[in-house]
Amino acid sequence: MSNVNNRFKKDLDKFITEFDDDLIICRCEEVTKGEIRRAVHDGMYTLTEIRRYLRSGMGLCQGQTCQILVKGIVAKELGISPMDLEPVISRSPTRPIEMKVLGNEGKEAL
């Protein structure tokens, strides 16, 4: 991870817009490629920071669809291999679940 740890901004090239910056990458939260690239230039160097900054991967599918896509974009922007980016932490519930169901532990709960 050491190559993303020094957050001094001189490390990155200038932000230049690209023709497909409007492309939706995270469908659940409607985050575009341009927003992700811009966030990297704003200093968000890890997938966790990108997610907290833009909400990408925080929607109903929990990043199942977009995580790899976001990873590729961030890695390219940072000039590193996607293999060097640690995926975000996984959270319960693995599938979205109604509050009334999550609150219903039944009799044998404990």
Partner: protein, 375 residues
């Protein structure tokens, strides 16, 4: 990269980042060292986002009121990041006479210190937030309270500080602070040694072991709290909610999702594996708590739960203080789970302390040497 900075901040949470921003704005060279790979990875990225004045300890209240009056309203503009600040008030709800007594007590204390907070009837609470259950018989109401997005506020401070030239290194765990000729001078990490005139220690619970390397003890405990978030709902209400019985607290965000924190009652003894992991029974308990007050949210889907540690000071009020025995060291820790709301104020105060200005508020109540035996 130079290993020297005028000020070194240990900890990349919202206290560290806001301090770095206010220092960079003053033209200081500042370096932030963060143990994890991510900025704001401790409580700053995990809390419920309350920007409350009500319910605060009387020593902390002036910090909260200063921030709400002077800093929060313009923060989004200042940071050029929408921190999703809403100042729509805080309702603390009660369902029993006992609850009402607790609320009255809190309300009287805060009102006596000049905060606009008052008791209201259940029917008035329902006028403010029509989604409340019929069981709510009364509430305390502080119209100037609010909430914001803690992740965006933390990363917004980070982004702006970075733009102003503050330097950040993540994955850099501080092992030791070293005194040179009687002054705190060096910050030693596993890989590097940094030099500075002033060290601000804002590393949450980890501050305790780092302070111990210069013989200073901050009496605090680590405790694991949990939060959950729903899928986006249509806009419903923007008050911050809490309850007298502490069943839950939370709000609806700009995104539409509801963010709720709460507890199961086992927080003091929950196990962990070295990372802040959720417990199998807590989220379900929080859900039951929420539905007692907001039955209409029963169909809202929970998409995520998470946990975070708080650095709970023995008297539940932070330490924001110079250390006389260790000149050059400033402590900023023990925020006890309510540091987010006062973070702009604390960042301002710390930046003033670091450059030797007089602080805009009196901070003697937060001294590191205030802890005495009970008899």
């Amino acid at each position: 990269m130079s290993h020297y900075a005028d000020v070194i901040v240990i900890g990349g949470g919202i206290i560290g980042n806001s301090t770095a921003y206010y220092l960079a704005k003053k033209g200081c060279s500042v370096l932030v060292l963060e143990k994890s790979d991510h900025m704001g990875n401790g409580g700053s990225g995990r809390n419920g986002g309350g920007v409350r004045q009500s319910g605060r300890d009387k020593r902390e209240l002036p910090l909260a009121m200063y921030g709400v009056k002077n800093l929060w309203p313009a923060l989004s503009d200042e940071l050029e990041t929408d921190v999703e600040y809403y100042q729509e008030g805080n309702l603390r709800l009660g369902k029993t006479d006992e609850h009402i007594k607790i609320l009255e007590c809190l309300t009287n204390d805060a009102a006596s210190l000049g905060l606009d907070v008052r008791m209201i009837e259940g029917i008035q609470a329902k006028e403010i937030c029509p989604y409340l259950s019929e069981e709510v018989i009364g509430a305390s109401w502080c119209p100037t309270d609010g909430h914001a997005n803690p992740m965006l506020a933390t990363l917004g401070y980070y982004r702006k500080a970075r733009q102003l030239g503050a330097r950040f290194v993540t994955g850099e765990e501080v092992i030791e602070i070293k005194k040179i000729k009687g002054k705190a001078r060096q910050v030693v990490t596993s890989e590097n040694c940094y030099e500075t005139e002033t060290i601000i220690l804002a590393a949450g619970y980890d501050s305790r072991k780092i302070a111990a390397t210069v013989g200073i003890n901050v009496p605090m405990l680590q405790s694991l709290l949990e939060v959950l978030v729903t899928e986006a709902q249509p806009p419903m209400f923007y008050q911050m909610l809490g309850t007298a019985a502490a069943d839950f607290y939370g709000h609806q965000s700009t995104h539409g999702s509801f963010v709720f924190g709460g507890s199961s009652g086992f927080e003091g003894v929950n196990k962990n594996n070295g990372t802040p992991v959720t417990n199998s029974i807590t989220a379900s308990c929080i859900c039951r708590g929420i539905m007692k007050y907001l039955p209409c949210l029963g169909d809202a889907k929970i998409v995520r739960t998470w946990a975070g540690w708080i650095d709970d000071c023995v008297d539940h009020v932070p330490v924001i203080s110079r250390v006389e025995e260790v000149p050059g060291l400033i402590l900023a820790c023990g925020f006890s789970g309510h540091g987010f709301g006062i973070s702009p104020t604390v960042g301002t105060l710390l930046s003033q302390m670091a450059v030797g200005e007089e602080t805009v508020l009196d901070i003697t109540d937060f001294r590191y040497d205030r802890f005495k035996a009970k008899i």
